[in-house]
Structure formats: structure tokens, C-alpha cells
Amino acid sequence: MAAPTTTSGPRRTRTLRTDRWWLPPLGTALGLSAFVVYGLVRTFMNTWYWAPEQHYLAPFFSPCLSEACVPGASHLGTPFPDLAPWVPPPVFVLPFVFGFRLTCYYYRKAYYRAFWLSPPACAVTEPHRRYTGESRLPLLLQNAHRYFFYAAVLVAAVLTYDTVLAFHGVNGGVGVGLGTLLMVVNVVLLWGYTLSCHSCRHLVGGRINHFSRHPVRYRLWTWVSRLNGRHMSLAWASLFSVALVDLYVMLVASGAFPDPRLIN
């Protein structure tokens, strides 16, 4: 056995981890930033969100509730006025959808790690001198997650309605295009993400202590718990699918891409 040798290497270094611990938070930061930038550009682009021939409405603009919406895009009426050219229709709905993701327990973990570095990774020292977590304002507002969940359920229902409308054929009757299929996948992923939410899990049954007295709620809780185990995957998949469908509708509406029709 070799004689022990002393190395300089205090225990109090930032981390002694030797793996690439910085890679997941970097990937998260890039992924979330790309989505936010795309969302902002798309929202303020304020065009090419309705493909009238195929009945495709871009998810970023659904429901389109402003008088500024292009004709045909407002399936639920236009209760909001056209305030200004720089106030696009999504500003009435997107804050709720954005709030749902912002206060989501998975995304909180993701952005606390990736952007606030609190901590950047497990057993890697965070750079902040003080830490109060979610015990004070503004982060105390994370407790409003369940209200954003209620709003997200409504938006998911509207997007489901949009998807049903996308089954219109270009020559009338029933039709299916590539966009229809993408919208179906998107709405399934959105429901999966919404229903796998921790607040949903709590509200359907997690809050009760005697499951045996509430067999239906227990069954619901069991289903949601199973989905909840995939909440992170569903969060990313639905984020990607929303952006993809939005991009697809934009390309179809602008005429840059002809929607391949499978049926009518």
C-alpha cells in the first residue's frame, strides 16, 4: 500500500462532484428560454394564427377573445375590445396558461435550478448569501397554483374544441390533415400534463385521509398519481407540442406549407 499523500482540497469547495452536473440545468435553461422567446415573438407577431380553409387555430391564440381577432378565429365570442395594435389577443389568456406553468411544481424545480441556481444541482453550492425559499412574497404566490390549474382546465377544454373543429374537411364535411393529427397529439399531451398536476392530485383525493370512505375519489387519485409520476415528461412534451402546432398553423396560414390532407 502506498503511503498517504496530502492534497490541497478543502471540503468546503463548491462541489466535489465529478460528473457533468451542469448539463441538465443548462439544457433546462436553453429549452425554457427558447420557448419563452418563441412565445413572445409569436404573440406579438399577431398574424397567421387562423387557417380558415382547414379550420386550424394556433394554440397560442386560443381562445381568441378580442375584437382584434381575425374573422372566424373567435369560437367563443369577442368579449374584449381591440385595445391597441400592440395588445394582441393572447394577452387575455396567455397569462393564465403561463401562470399555470410558472407555478407548476415541476417547472419550479426546473427554473429554480436552471435560472436561480438555488441550487444548480444537488450537492452543488448555490451562490446566494441568504435564502428564504417560498416563505415570503413574491414566491409565496406559488401557492396560487390550484387557481391556475382551474384556468388551465378551461383552456385545455377550449383547445379540445378547437381540435374537434379541425376535423372539418376543406370541401365541407369531415376531413383530416396532418395539422389535425398534430392538434390531437397536442391536446392529449396538454390534458396529460394538466391532469397530472400535483394540485389536481390533491384536489381529486389527496386531501382526504380515509380513502376507504371515498372509493371513487380514491380511484381518481390512483389514476392521477400514476400520471403524476410522468409529470415532468408531460410538461416537456406538451411544451414542445404546443410550440410545434403553433408553428405548423403559422406555416399553413401564411401559405408557406400546404397542409397534407389524409381525408378531404
Binding site: 498517504p4 496530502t6 482540497g9 435550478r113 441550487p119 444537488c122 448555490e126 435564502y131 400535483h198
Partner: protein
């Protein structure tokens, strides 16, 4: 693992298995004073980090302090940090590491070091005592508890805890902020609160969710899930204990709708 380090000759183990020398870097010292020291140790196939620490103890540094007991991942004694990650040394196989890699073993960072790899974990016992115990309903004696499995299975998951305190060690709320130790009980004891809060027979007359916030600092938790990542029992601490506790607290404190439907009296 069939590793060789540098050009050192392979050795034969007791059972004929091929052995090799591996490099260990171990924290040596007491209190705040200490240093990382390098050693070369013989290793045999299938061994874990704790085996090598014991060999180091037996062959070269008999004064090396290591806390251990079962060597089966069930007593929670041999918690340490291996290459910077909180782990049970008895469950960390050497085959996990690259043969050329120096394996660094340090004590848990969150707790004061007594000597070498042994920490003073009494913080945890103080916090444990602050959680009011299970309170059975009046007139029900131990041995008379009757519960449906579905009612108690959530709490049972938390009973798998072996109290290795790796979750406490990795939690940045106290790992990086010593000043939070007084206000924050850590994931292990918030999980204990959740276990009792969800228990179908617990008749505690206080409000455990509210106490989780006030007495145990639930609000400091920002659910970054490191506790879940390091748990050797694979308890879903964040998803099944901390977040449900936060949701129950939201019921009581931040959500007016349940107030409207809450039974009075």
C-alpha cells in the same frame, strides 16, 4: 469491476477473483480542521466503497473513523459523500466509477465533523423531538388499531425511511445556509409530519400542516427534489410528502374556497 490503476499489477483476491489497486481520496481531520488525503487500496470485484474504507482502516490507517453497521443499506449509518454525491458507502459499488478515477470520500457536508467521516447528526434528533407523536383516538389502545390498507399505504411509504439523513445532507436550505437550521426541520422530518398528517387514525388536536409551516419551515422548501434523488429507499419525498403537505397548507391558509365548505364546530 476489473480495473487497474496506472500500470499497477493486478492482484488475486481471496476467492481467486481478479483484484486491482484503486485510488481513494479521503477526508481526514476533526472539527473544521482537516484535509483530503490520497491512498491506494486493493479492491476486489464486487466491492463497495465501505469495503475499501475498511481495508484502508485494516491495512494502513487504523485511526480512520467510519460509522457503519449493517453493510446492507438498511441501518443508514454509513452515509457520506462519494465524489461529491451523498450516498450510503455500503451501497456504492466501485464498479460505478471509472477505473482511472480517484474516488473521493468526504463526510456529510451539512453536519459538523466529529472525526474523519463521522458526523455529529444530533441536529436531526433535536428536530425529531419537535414533531408531536402519533395520537390514537380516545379509547383505542395499542394493538387495537384497525385501518384499511388503502388508508395507510401513503404513510407506510414514509416508514421505509432508514434515517440515513442523506436527504437532510443534500437539502440546500440547510446545506448552504447554516442560519436556516433553527427554522427548518429538513425533508426527513417534514416527511414525518406528512406521515402523521395523512395517517387515518391520528387524532392530534393541533394542525400538523400549519405546524409544518410555522414550526418546521415548510415554506423554505423550494421543491428542487434533491432529497428524492439521494434517498436510498427511493421514497418519493417531494412528490408524496412535501408537495401534498404544501397543498394541505394551501387548503388551510391560501385558498378561500375550502373555507366556504369547511364544517364548523
Amino acid at each position: 469491476m476489473t480495473a487497474t490503476v496506472g500500470n499497477v499489477e493486478p492482484l488475486r483476491g481471496r476467492n481467486g477473483a481478479m483484484g486491482q489497486r484503486v485510488r481513494l481520496r479521503v477526508w481526514r481531520g476533526s472539527g473544521d480542521e482537516g484535509e483530503l488525503r490520497d491512498y491506494e487500496v486493493e479492491a476486489e470485484e464486487g466491492e463497495v466503497v465501505l469495503d475499501l474504507l475498511h481495508r484502508l482502516q485494516a491495512t494502513h490507517c487504523p485511526d480512520l473513523a467510519v460509522r457503519w453497521n449493517c453493510k446492507a443499506g438498511k441501518c443508514g449509518s454509513c452515509s457520506a459523500e462519494v465524489n461529491g454525491r451523498p450516498r450510503l458507502t455500503c451501497m456504492t459499488r466501485m464498479s460505478l466509477f471509472d477505473p482511472e478515477e480517484t474516488v473521493t470520500v468526504t463526510p456529510m457536508r451539512t453536519f459538523p465533523v466529529i472525526k474523519d467521516l463521522v458526523c455529529d447528526v444530533s441536529y436531526n434528533y433535536v428536530k425529531a423531538r419537535e414533531v408531536p407523536g402519533f395520537t390514537p383516538p380516545a379509547g383505542v389502545e395499542p394493538g387495537q388499531y384497525r385501518m384499511w390498507q388503502r388508508d395507510v399505504e401513503r404513510s407506510q411509504e414514509f416508514r421505509k425511511c432508514i434515517e440515513c439523513f442523506l436527504c437532510q445532507d443534500t437539502c440546500h436550505v440547510i446545506r448552504d445556509h447554516e442560519e436556516n437550521k433553527e427554522a427548518f426541520s429538513g425533508p426527513r422530518f417534514l416527511m414525518r409530519v406528512a406521515e402523521l398528517e395523512m395517517h387515518p387514525l391520528d387524532d392530534y388536536d393541533g394542525d400538523r400542516a400549519e405546524e409544518a409551516r410555522g414550526e418546521h419551515g415548510l415554506g423554505l422548501c423550494n421543491i428542487t427534489k434533491c432529497c428524492t434523488e439521494v434517498c436510498p429507499e427511493h421514497i418519493r419525498i417531494t412528490d408524496n410528502a412535501l408537495i401534498p403537505l404544501k397543498e394541505r397548507l394551501a387548503d388551510r391558509r391560501y385558498d378561500p374556497i375550502p373555507w366556504l365548505f369547511r364544517r364548523r364546530g
